[in-house]
Amino acid sequence: MLYERYSRLMMAVCLRYCKDEFLAQEALQNGFIKMFHSLHCYNPELPFGPWIRRIMINCSLDQLSKKPDTVDIDEVNYAGNAVYNQMDAELTGAELMCLVDTMPAGYRTVFNMYVIDDMSHQEIAEILQITEATSRSQLFKARNYLKNALTKQQKMYL
């Protein structure tokens, strides 16, 4: 069954974009509904995974656009703790993701799409309805942001 096979994987995708668990759940639910209604549009010659992943990303972005980009104070503290209380020299993947989560939504979205979901700038521009140049610029800023955060963290270690 499609749901059993892909739900957990897609939940992780939605969580990466939405950050908020409830929004991610809603995005996952809408994504599956959309997917079942669009099955007739799926080209069987192409892999199914990227197709459903793209649907989930679209739904996550829809959810993000509905909710203003504000975070609760608890969430901010949590993110801050994740960055500044890290004392290990070697950052784990999860910790890196915490750093990514502290990015502004625009940076984070493009970073996620380009780096983790392996989308080209053309695809990102198409989905976000922006120009490729803007996508490149957002990615550049996101990388800078991450670099700064890591540098800041290195300083804290010293």
Binding site: S7, A12, L15, Q29, H37, T70, V115, D118, K141, L146
Partner: protein
């Protein structure tokens, strides 16, 4: 494959195929939504059936109307003063049938008469026992004479033959026909119309038998007519909001923040007046409901980002304050009403009742609502709260018409409208239904 730094590559390797826990009831929700969507796609047989029925009824009535029009029917009034032509009969038969007291001279002249008074091979007829109108047809160049209607049914026109040499003339409105002296004359007596009745024309004097009276077109009241009507109105919305379970945060949130204000509508439609009493109408209605949304929250938090010259965020700040959200919610509906009415005349007014159904074809909400987690949500972005159609509503009301001229009438129509079906989706905990008290004013034009 995109170019990535080693760090990014590590993120990709670790998170591309990562998994996360999914809530247990997620599939049930998805299944429920899929069922709702399937239900929504089902055709609406009642709607199609009634539409076909309405089209059939109007088609039949149109054919019926065209049939009478082809026979020379003429409609002059949306109100009952529309008239029909009546079969012509010779004048001699009329006088004979009515048992008018013939004079010896008249008998003699009738015997000598070559036939009925005629012109253009049409015979003149003055019917008995009917409300008659001898109307002027300017386009045909005919004379006009009215034998008024109610209250004078016993007053029948009479004709008498008089001497050949009598000077004579037929006067009707502006027209006077010269009559040769040698021709035998006809005297037409006519009862004046009662006060308040229109006097379209009058025939008096004497006329030669040899001259022809214009063929009269006699009418009786026409009782069937098509009409167009437009109206606009405003009303008071009555909302019924229920939640399942009965008391929860969403219920109190919406109850405290939303307040129905008013509704307005515009209508345009086509109708048919049957037997001058029954009316059937259908058309198009645009309906708008306005509600007030007012949300006040103390101690609300807002996160503010600060950016440096390069546009990079350097700080975040939580600002606490009072949050006030004020806006108006709008629900726009498009309906196809189907109404039946009954009217009765009361002097210059017509009073009646009207009832019917309205088939909603579109509902589009816009504005804001407060969700159970105290979040303000825009209605435009949510498809899972309101239906795209509200189904059938019924309406009933009174109607009061006043004629402006022979084909036009204005009306006022207070009515009650009720939507028995909920406006929200079946899976949604809110059950919202509306009723409206409204008053429309409009214009009706017959043709």
């Amino acid at each position: 494959m995109n170019k990535r730094s080693p760090l990014e590559d590590r993120l990709y390797q670790q998170f591309y195929d990562t998994e996360a826990d999914v809530p247990q009831d997620m599939w049930k929700n998805i299944e429920a939504h899929l069922n709702v969507k399937e239900e929504k796609k089902r055709p609406f047989p009642t709607f199609y059936f009634l539409t076909i029925l309405a089209v059939s009824v109007f088609g039949t009535l149109a054919v019926f109307n065209a049939h009478f029009t082809a026979k020379g029917q003429r409609s002059d009034d949306v109100m009952p003063k529309t008239v029909f032509p009546i079969e012509s009969e010779p004048l001699r038969n009329q006088t004979a049938q009515k048992g008018l007291p013939p004079t010896p001279a008249a008998d003699a002249r009738r015997a000598a008469s070559p036939g009925p008074v005629s012109r253009n091979n049409k015979e003149t007829a003055l019917p008995a026992g009917k409300d008659t109108k001898y109307a002027d047809s300017h386009d045909q160049g005919q004379l006009s004479l009215v034998f008024p209607t109610s209250g004078i049914k016993e007053a029948e026109p009479t004709m008498m033959m008089e001497g050949h040499n009598d000077p004579a003339g037929i006067i009707s409105g502006q027209a006077t026909l010269p009559v040769p002296n040698e021709a035998p004359s006809v005297v037409v007596h006519q009862t004046l119309p009662p006060i308040g009745q229109p006097d379209i024309g009058r025939l008096s004097g004497t006329a030669s038998r040899s001259i022809a009276l214009p063929a009269p077109v006699l009418y009786r009241d026409r009782t069937n007519a098509f009409f167009l009507q437009i109206s606009a109105g405003a009303g008071l919305p009555l909302r019924k909001l229920r939640y399942t379970p009965a008391e929860n945060r969403a219920y109190s949130a919406r109850q405290s923040t939303e307040k129905p204000l008013y509704a307005w509508n515009i209508n345009a439609g086509l109708g048919f007046l049957l037997d001058n009493r029954w009316s059937f109408s259908s058309g198009f209605e645009y309906f708008t409901l306005k509600e007030k949304f007012n949300y006040y929250k103390e101690n609300a938090g807002r996160l503010q980002y600060r950016y440096d010259e390069n546009g990079q965020p350097i700080d975040t700040q939580l600002i606490k304050g009072v949050m006030i959200e004020r806006s108006g919610n709008t629900y726009q509906l498009i309906n196809i009403p189907l109404s039946i009415g009954y009217e009765t005349r009361a002097g210059k007014w017509k009073l009646g009742i009207e009832a019917g159904l309205a088939f909603n074809v579109s509902l589009s909400p816009s504005g804001k609502i407060l969700t159970n987690d105290q979040q303000v949500q825009r209605l435009e972005n949510t498809e899972d709260i309101y239906l795209s159609r509200t189904g059938i509503s019924w309406r009933a009301g009174l109607q009061c018409l006043r004629s402006v001229d022979r084909t036009t009438a204005v009306f006022i129509r207070p009515q009650y409208q009720h939507y028995p079906e909920r406006w929200t989706r079946s899976g949604h905990p809110a059950d919202i239904r509306y009723s409206f008290l409204q008053c429309n004013v409009g214009l009706r034009k017959a043709f």
